[in-house]
Symmetry: C2
Subunit: 454 residues, 2 copies
């Protein structure tokens, strides 16, 4: 009998998050205060986030950060997630490659996002905050924070990118079922939102703009803090439980990945998976391990962006982040992978890419859905549009293994299901799904507005 | 540390289904051939189902039936499912009761249904059939059979009850993503469907009518067999893997259920859970264990039906089944728990109810959704409308434990998620969800048409 799933007993769960900042090679450029242009302090960050998250954001010393027991109790309602061996896919591709996928779609909210949503809600509650406000793209993050805040009995306000709000009404209802308040962005509730609606009444919205609205909402509601679902160091930190679990599960399977593939929007799911592995590459122990970041061709921050300081939001309310950016004013085309419609990227991932530790590839959405439909028919799982990117690249790599007769081990960082994305599958199946070319002119225009630094 | 989830290693998976027919107390009335009125033979059943399923349907001798290894390979893509301990719910209810739930919602199709869908597809493929045709209510069964047939590379035709087809468009798209053909019932593709549409153009449909259409389709396509998602003995047999796994998991938790609650539409999920336990009650070892079947107030087969021979479908194409029935022509009100809109009930469950081994309770849908929203806010899981019934009854029993100061162990048979049922949650949250009274007059009228037997 060959195992198709590797469970990890809760008694063997990782008890600490892995803080890659303690091991980061090279000199990673710091976050800068947008007013002074000086490196951001914990106090600066605590103006945005709960204090515990602000401390984690700037922590470059502690390699391991303990997960509080009260939070572990919550994690134990859905973690550890399962590591799958994709035997059926290997057979269908007739490849000697071994394909694994760590699947986060069995969390209650449907993705990896609750790993940090519950953590952020826990710290907010501990600090005595009344609520958290946030943005959401595809709705995975908003659903997760709605659940997390409800679990710790605080309020939740969500600005949801309008294109996704319209494409995925079920996501809004899910957030409301958890008890959150969710509005489409641009909204009439903030200055940033109203300004955009005046300029462009049908604006599909963007993650960058929704972040601006959420931060503005926080400024207007001092008993709230802002909560972010990706990009920031503390968010990626909370996600490392994925990779730490996966290391133990791959050991159970007597396997080690030659290739790890994951999609990146802000980077949180993939970083959560690959940070715990890349330390073997940083240490020189596994120099040949490949880490492949997948992004949409129409919003290719890493493959086409400039490596510059830029704002995390559209309006310019966040700290300045040194990252690959398409320009904070760029509004990506309305692809279905809403979680990947972001102009920037986690600065840690950008830095590792600059140093050559990770690679990146950009994909058109019809090829991505084609792979998603194949995966559903072979493995049964209906993937979100975001992880469909990884499935596509993993299949391509497995086919290369067939050509070369190589038995590589491929690990897919699978962030969640696509149960709320069926309109997109319908569009694909009926031939109505379109690809969007890289909007070079819009990007160039947006990049003219990069902030001047130093 | 207290475990919130109990995983079962795949090496410890049950290798056999449990055939309760070998242990059934009393004389259970046989299936009758609708034409001759004589007990149905394997050949009769094989006119409807694949031969292997027909044999299982009438097998009263073998207590254990081995699960074929090729099917086990498929089971290992999502099984064993997890047993949860609902610590958060216990705490919220401030009850000394211990609450467990075995959750089938992590299967790729979202429910327990793939346990039998993949089995039926396996046997059909082995027999050389071209495809399977079926009905579906809420869409869980249709999704599962679409996946199962795709896994074994045969065709799939689904007649979906129109009210659910309209309420849950995502279910249709999911079936199509798996490659199935799905049409609303009543359809124009069969005589039964056309006759109903002529009489009642806006007919919301019913499981009974959809079954008639599927059987008619099979008669017109001799290279197809009919596949059913509940009621039949072989279907309930395939589902016993749930309870067999659960016994091992409860042992890991050092617990034994005092009360098991589950919803019944045709009865397959709940029977799959409780058959493996009820043998301890039949044997006299656990005389006080309570097994509570939950059904909708507007379609209360067990609590209000007559115990008579009736057809399983609306038109009269199935064998005659001795069961609690509201009359095969009864069209239940359009409640959201589409999986429970059935006029009859698995004959095994009816027989066990007659003998006093199980009890039944009927619930109105607003109370059921109220419980579902509470459960989502406490445990995070968004339940399908069907298992919301169980959640409601389990909560009530846990509160009784609080009153009495008793620490009973309550086990919920949780059949799956409600990701495609969010329109129903929206209706509840906005106060638009209505209850339907028991339609006594319609039932009386339908029961006038019960077939004459003997």
């Amino acid at each position: 009998m060959e195992k198709g799933m590797y469970f990890l007993d809760q008694k063997d769960m990782p008890t600490h998050w892995y803080n890659i900042m303690a091991d980061m090679p090279g000199d990673m450029p710091p976050l800068l205060h947008p007013g002074t242009g000086k490196p951001a302090t914990v106090d600066d960050a605590a103006g945005l986030f709960s204090r515990a998250c602000a401390e984690q954001e700037l922590n470059t010393k502690d390699r391991w950060i303990e997960i509080p027991e009260e939070l572990m109790e919550v994690y134990r309602t859905w973690r550890p997630t399962v590591l799958h061996r994709a035997y059926r896919l290997e057979k269908a591709l007739d490849t000697p490659a071994k394909i694994f996928y760590k699947y986060e779609g069995t969390s209650q909210a449907g993705s990896h996002k609750p790993n940090t949503a519950t953590a952020q809600a826990y710290y907010a509650k501990k600090q005595g905050l009344k609520g958290l406000c946030t943005e959401t793209g595809a709705g995975q993050w908003g659903s997760a924070l709605s659940m997390g805040t409800r679990f710790f009995d605080i309020e939740c306000k969500v600005f949801m990118v309008r294109i996704s709000f319209d494409q995925k009404p079920y996501r809004r209802i899910l957030m409301e079922t958890y008890g959150a308040n969710c509005v489409p962005s641009p909204s009439t509730e903030t200055k940033s939102g109203r300004a955009m609606l005046e300029k462009w009444p049908d604006c599909p919205g963007s993650l960058g703009l929704a972040i601006s609205e959420a931060i503005e909402y926080m400024i207007d509601h001092p008993e709230y803090k802002y909560s972010i679902g990706s990009v920031a160091n503390h968010v990626l930190l909370h996600q490392t439980i994925i990779g730490e679990e996966c290391r133990k599960q791959m050991e159970m399977a007597d396997a080690y990945p030659d290739i790890i593939v994951g999609n990146i929007g802000g980077g949180s799911n993939f970083a959560g998976q690959f940070f715990p592995w890349i330390r073997d590459k940083i240490s020189g122990e596994k120099p040949d391990m490949r880490i492949i970041c997948c992004e949409p061709e129409s919003c290719p921050s890493v493959t086409k962006g400039l490596y510059e300081y830029d704002f995390g939001d559209s309006v310019g309310l966040t700290p300045l982040i040194k990252m690959y950016t398409l320009g904070h004013g760029f509004i990506p085309p309305p692809i279905h992978a809403g979680g990947l419609r972001y102009h920037g990227m986690a600065p840690t991932i950008c830095h590792l890419h600059r140093l050559g530790f990770v690679e990146a590839v950009a994909l058109p959405q019809t090829a991505v859905f084609e792979a998603g439909v194949k995966f559903a028919r072979i493995e049964g799982i209906l993937s979100g549009p975001e992880p469909c990117h990884n499935v596509k690249v993993a299949m391509d790599e497995a086919l290369k293994c067939r050509e070369a007769g190589e038995s590589k081990t491929i690990l897919i960082a699978h962030s969640g299901h696509g149960h709320f994305d069926l309109a997109a599958y319908d569009a694909y199946l009926t031939g109505k799904l379109q690809d969007y070319a890289y909007p070079e002119e819009e990007v160039k225009k947006a990049q003219l507005e990069l902030p001047k630094v130093g």
